[in-house]
Amino acid sequence: MHIDRTEKTFFMFSVALIIVFAIAVGISGMVYGIALPTPPEGFDVNPQTVATPGVSPWGEQPPDARLHELAPGEYEVYILAQTWLYLPNRITIPAGSKITFYVTSKDVIHGFRLDDTNINMMVIPGEVSKLTATFDEPGTYNFVCHEYCGVGHHTMYGQLIVE
C-alpha cells in the first residue's frame, strides 16, 4: 500500500499528540487526584426502600441529620435526590473543610454538579455516587441537577454554604 511521506509524518505527529494528552491526563489523575466517581464499597441500595428510616444512611430524619462530622474539618453527607429536590438541600460547613458526598436517587436518574469544583456525577437509582472536595473559600456554592428528570428539572438544586 502506498503511503505518502508527508502523510506518514502527519500520522506520527498525531500519535505523539495523543501520547502527550494521555500523559497529561495521567498526571492530573495521579498527582492531582482528580478522580471520577467509582462504585463505593459496602452499599447495597434499593431505590424502593432507600428512603425508609433505618434501612440506609439516606433514610435518617430529619434530612439535616445526614451531615456527619467525622473529624474536625472532615465531613460526609448523604444526599437523596428525588423529583425535584435534594435532601438535604442546604448544607453548612466551616471554611477549610473536606467533605465527601454520597448521593443516590429514589426515583429517576438525576445529576449532581457542584460549582467551582471537580464534582460532577450522574445520580442513578440503585447506585451510589461518591466524590470529595475541599473548600477553602467561604461562600455559597450551588449544586445543580444536570440530567433531565421531568418537567420540574430546572428547579432542582441545592446549596453548600461555606462559612
Binding site: M1, H2, I3, D4, T6, E7, F10, F11, S14, V15, I18, F21, A22, V25, S28, G29, I34, A35, L36, P37, T38, P39, D44, N46, P47, Q48, T83, D107, V108, I109, G111, R113, D115, N118, I119, N120, M121, M122, V123, I124, P125, G126, E127, V128, S129, K130, N142, V144, C145, H146, E147, Y148, C149, G150, V151, G152, H153, H154, T155, Y157
Partner: protein, 547 residues
C-alpha cells in the same frame, strides 16, 4: 439509470427532511428561552405542552429519525451508483422503507400526545408510553433491512465481477451500514429485554445503570453512523467536485475499516461520571477512544490533500492560494467545505470530552449541545444539505432552485453555528450551566450567563433563517418547472496514486468483523455479564411519568 432506486432514495430523503423540519423548528425557541425570551406559552396554542416535550421532538426527530432516514437512503443510492449495478432485490428496500415509516408513525403518536417526554435517550426509570419504544425499535429494524438490501447487492456484484475489488464508495457505504448494525445491537437489547417488557407491565422493575450502558453501546457509534456518510462524500465525491483526486485511496479504505473496529468499544466515555461503572473500564474505553482519534486525523490529512489537488488543478498557486481557487460558487461544495471547518472544532471538543477526568469539567453542561451541533448539527447535517444540492436535482430531474440562496444557506449556517456553538461552549465550561434545562426560568440563573446565552440565541436565530432558506431551495427544486439540461451523475473521485491493486486484507469483510466482535467482547463482555448475572437484585426500579 436505476429509476426504482432513485425513487426509493427520494422517499427516504423526503421523510428525513420532513422530520428535520418539525424537529428543527424547536431549536431557535430553546435558545431564545435560555436568553430570556420564553415563547412556550405561545407554543401551547399549537399543542406543545412544555419545553421538554419540544426538546424530545427536537432530539428524536433530528438525531434519530432525520439522520437514519437520510443515511439509509443516501447509502443505498451511493452503493448502487458506485457499483453501477442496481439493487439485487428492490423489495427488500421497499420493506425497509415501509417498516421505518410505520415505526416512525407509531413512535410519533405518544410523543405528540406528551406521553413520551423522555428525550431521545429515553433513560429509564423515566417511563414512556410503550408504543414509543416499539416504534423506535421498528425504525432500527427497518434500517437493518435497508442494510441487508445493500449487502445482497454487493454480494451479487462480487459474483458478477470475480477478482475485482469493491469500488471505494460502495465499500465505505457498506462498512457504514455494517458498523451500524453491530452498534445498534445495544439499543435493540435494551428495548427488547429491558424496556418493552417493562413498559408493557410484564417486568416490574428495570436496571437504569444497565440501560445506560446498553444505550451508550449504541450511542457512541451512532455518532460515527452520522459522520461516516459525510466522510463518504468528503473522500469519495468532494475531490471530484473540486476538480481533484482522492489522495490515498487505500488509506481511505483502511480508515473506514478502523472506524468499524474502533467505533463501538468506547461507549463508556459517555459514562465517565456514572457511579456504577468501575474506573478500570472507564480507563480502557478512554484509551480506545484516543486510538479512534488516529483515523480521524488521517481523514483530515487525506481530505485536505485531495482538495488541495483540486485547488491547484484549478489554477490556485502558492501556499494557501489553492484555497481561493476551490469552487466556492458551488453551493454543494461550499456547504460541505464549511461543514468540514466546523467539524475541526467539533473534533477538538470531542477529544476534550473523551479525555477521562477532563470530562468532569463539561459533562452535561451547555458545552455538550455546543459540541454536538458542530458534529451532528454541522459535519453531518450541513454536509447532507450540501449533498442534497446535487442529489435532489438528480432525483427530481429539475435544476437547483435559486443556487445563490443555497450558497447563502451554507454561509448563514456557518456564521450562525459559530455564534451559537461558541456561546454554549463558553457558558458551559466557565459556569457549568446544565444542558436539557429551561435555563431562563431556573431559580439558580446566573446573570453572568446572559451575554453568552444571548450570543447563542442570535446564532440560533440565524440558524433558523438558514434552515428556512434550505427548505425553500429544496421544495423549490422539487416543484421547479426547469428541467435539467443534462442528467447529473454521482461525483466519483479518481485515485491520485495508481491504486488499482487493493490488498486483499482491505477488501474482505470477515477478518474485520471478527476482530470487531472480539474487541467488543473484551471491552463490554465482563461488565455486561456482571449486570445481567445480578439481575435478580438490580432490576428494582419502577417507572415514573414525571412530566
Amino acid at each position: 439509470m436505476f429509476k426504482r432506486t432513485n425513487k426509493l432514495t427520494g422517499w427516504y430523503l423526503g421523510v428525513a427532511f420532513a422530520s428535520l423540519f418539525i424537529g428543527g423548528f424547536f431549536g431557535p425557541f430553546q435558545s431564545l428561552e435560555h436568553a430570556g425570551v420564553n415563547l412556550y406559552p405561545q407554543l401551547q396554542a399549537i399543542g406543545v405542552q412544555s419545553y421538554y416535550q419540544g426538546l424530545t421532538l427536537h432530539g428524536v426527530l433530528n438525531a434519530l429519525v432525520f439522520t437514519t432516514f437520510f443515511i439509509v437512503g443516501f447509502m443505498t443510492f451511493s452503493t448502487v451508483n458506485s457499483l453501477k449495478r442496481d439493487l439485487a432485490n428492490h423489495t427488500v428496500s421497499v420493506v425497509s422503507l415501509v417498516v421505518m415509516i410505520v415505526g416512525l408513525l407509531i413512535a410519533a403518536v405518544p410523543i405528540l400526545l406528551n406521553k413520551a417526554t423522555v428525550m431521545f435517550t429515553f433513560y429509564p426509570p423515566l417511563l414512556a408510553n410503550e408504543w414509543f419504544y416499539v416504534g423506535l425499535t421498528l425504525v432500527v429494524v427497518g434500517s437493518w433491512i435497508g442494510g441487508l438490501s445493500m449487502y445482497l447487492t454487493v454480494a451479487a456484484w462480487r459474483k458478477e465481477n470475480p477478482g475485482e475489488s469493491i469500488p471505494f464508495i460502495a465499500l465505505a457505504s457498506t462498512i457504514t451500514m455494517i458498523m451500524w448494525q453491530i452498534a445498534s445491537l445495544g439499543v435493540a437489547v435494551e428495548m427488547l429485554i429491558l424496556l418493552i417488557p417493562w413498559a408493557f407491565g410484564i417486568a416490574s422493575g428495570t436496571d437504569p445503570q444497565l440501560a445506560r450502558t446498553l444505550f451508550w453501546f449504541t450511542g457512541h457509534p451512532i455518532v460515527y453512523f452520522w459522520l461516516l456518510p459525510s466522510y463518504v462524500s468528503w473522500y469519495g465525491m468532494m475531490p471530484k467536485q473540486a476538480g481533484g483526486k482522492l489522495f490515498s485511496e487505500n488509506l481511505a479504505r483502511l480508515v473506514f475499516w478502523l472506524f468499524l473496529l474502533l467505533s463501538i468499544p468506547v461507549g463508556f466515555h459517555h459514562q465517565f461520571v456514572d457511579p456504577g461503572v468501575p474506573a478500570g473500564w472507564k480507563t480502557l474505553h478512554s484509551v480506545l477512544t484516543y486510538s479512534l482519534f488516529l483515523p480521524s486525523m488521517l481523514t483530515a490529512f487525506t481530505v485536505v490533500a485531495s482538495l488541495e489537488l483540486g485547488g491547484r488543478a484549478r489554477g490556485g498557486k502558492g501556499l494557501l492560494g489553492w484555497i481561493r481557487a476551490l469552487p466556492w460558487d458551488s453551493p454543494s461544495y461550499t456547504a460541505q467545505n464549511l461543514a468540514m471547518i466546523l467539524f475541526l472544532f467539533g473534533g477538538i471538543g470531542g477529544l476534550t470530552n473523551a479525555s477521562y477526568n477532563v470530562n468532569l469539567a463539561i459533562h452535561n453542561t451547555s458545552w455538550i449541545p455546543g459540541h454536538f451541533h458542530l458534529t451532528v448539527g454541522s459535519a453531518a447535517t450541513l454536509t447532507y444539505f450540501g449533498v442534497s444540492y446535487w442529489l435532489v436535482p438528480k432525483l427530481s430531474g429539475n435544476k437547483l432552485f435559486k443556487p445563490k440562496w443555497a450558497l447563502a444557506q451554507a454561509w448563514t449556517w456557518f456564521a450562525g453555528m459559530i455564534l451559537f456553538s461558541n456561546g454554549l461552549h463558553v457558558v458551559g465550561l466557565n459556569f457549568g450551566s446544565p444542558r436539557r434545562t429551561m435555563l431562563g426560568v431556573s431559580p439558580y440563573f446566573n446573570d453572568a450567563w446572559s451575554p453568552l446565552l444571548i450570543e447563542a440565541a442570535i446564532g440560533a436565530t440565524i440558524l433558523g433563517i438558514s434552515g428556512l432558506i434550505f427548505y425553500t431551495v429544496i421544495v423549490g427544486t422539487v416543484f421547479s418547472k426547469q428541467k435539467l439540461d443534462a442528467p447529473i451523475e454521482m461525483p466519483v473521485a479518481e485515485a491520485y496514486h495508481d491504486e488499482s491493486h487493493v490488498p486483499a486484507w482491505l477488501d474482505s469483510f470477515k477478518p474485520w468483523i471478527i476482530a470487531t466482535a472480539v474487541l467488543i467482547l473484551v471491552a463490554y463482555g465482563p461488565m455486561l455479564f456482571y449486570f445481567f448475572s445480578n439481575a435478580a437484585t438490580r432490576w428494582t426500579s419502577p417507572g415514573f411519568m414525571v412530566w
